[in-house]
Symmetry: C2
Subunit: 176 residues, 2 copies
């Protein structure tokens, strides 16, 4: 019953990526600097998020990461499952049938009651995570959080985000 600390980093990065405009990207090194983490290690978790289709990665000098879909359609459950794996925390090893007395396999067709109870609790856990969207986190941070911290985050995002070439068609790169 212990979550890796990569979960915290992943959620923070995702909520930061929710603040970038349009299809602009943000390098993983910038986010690592923002949270005081090892860049190479953070890449590992961001890679898991992109493998789960939560983030998109763009290679190249102007590359980075961005959300693969709007923040309203990303839940905390998506992020936690992507980083920690989709298997339930409690795995029934069916130790009840490991005893010396060997019963017929037909005696174990009914699922283990303990397993059912543990999985019911885990469904409640996942349901609570699923009803919290990433947009809720961002909105709560904007309204409830300290204005100074929020302003600093916005400035950091504006400084490090990299607009993409396709978006530069909409906005001419230079006005002369």
């Amino acid at each position: 019953m212990k979550l890796g600390e990569g979960v915290e980093a992943a959620i923070h990065c995702a909520s930061m990526l929710a603040s970038v405009e349009g299809d602009a990207t943000m390098p993983g090194a910038a986010m690592a600097e923002s949270f005081g983490l090892s860049p190479s290690y953070l890449l590992k978790h961001l890679n898991m998020l992109s493998a789960a289709r939560i983030l998109e990665s763009v290679p190249g000098p102007a590359g980075g990461y961005r959300l693969a879909r709007p923040a309203e359609r990303i839940t905390l459950l998506d992020i936690v499952l992507a980083v920690e794996g989709r298997e339930p925390a409690f795995r029934c090893g069916e130790i009840r049938r490991n005893g010396p007395v060997k019963l017929d396999a037909s005696a174990y067709v009914k699922p283990c009651g303990i397993n059912a109870a543990m999985l019911k609790a885990e469904r409640a856990y996942r349901a609570a995570l699923a009803e919290t969207k990433l947009s809720d986190i961002v909105a709560d941070y904007a309204t409830e959080g300290d204005p100074r911290s929020f302003a600093a985050s916005c400035a950091f995002v504006a400084r490090h985000q990299r607009p993409q070439k396709s978006s530069s068609i909409l906005q001419p790169p230079k006005q002369t």
Copy 2:
């Protein structure tokens, strides 16, 4: 997000101990044999349960383990917390303040919204575990489980439980 397999063993042992009569005890080695586990390792988990006042241990040749209170007053949450520890699974490292830009400490008085959301989910998890009593597990096993498996468990308990000296006053040990 992964529970140790000792949790499963602990719950199975506790539900087995719920079937012993009165203040009789059952040795840990018997339960280890019943589930095909390493006796020495199972003792470790049973020791944690007795440290949490869920089980009582009696040393000596007629010793063993028994429930410290009725099964109606033991929940799955008690067992899980005793084995896995009481700390929440998600630990907020406050990485938001680890960045290069140093804000005043007053900017972080409000708790992290991510931490609040994760803890809310964990409260739901624990609440679901807390509403399942050990007596429910046993009753469900007696009614829903396979009769052959239930009979085998009862026979195993009757064969390995050790009545205590104080109870032998109520039931004379030998009838001649």
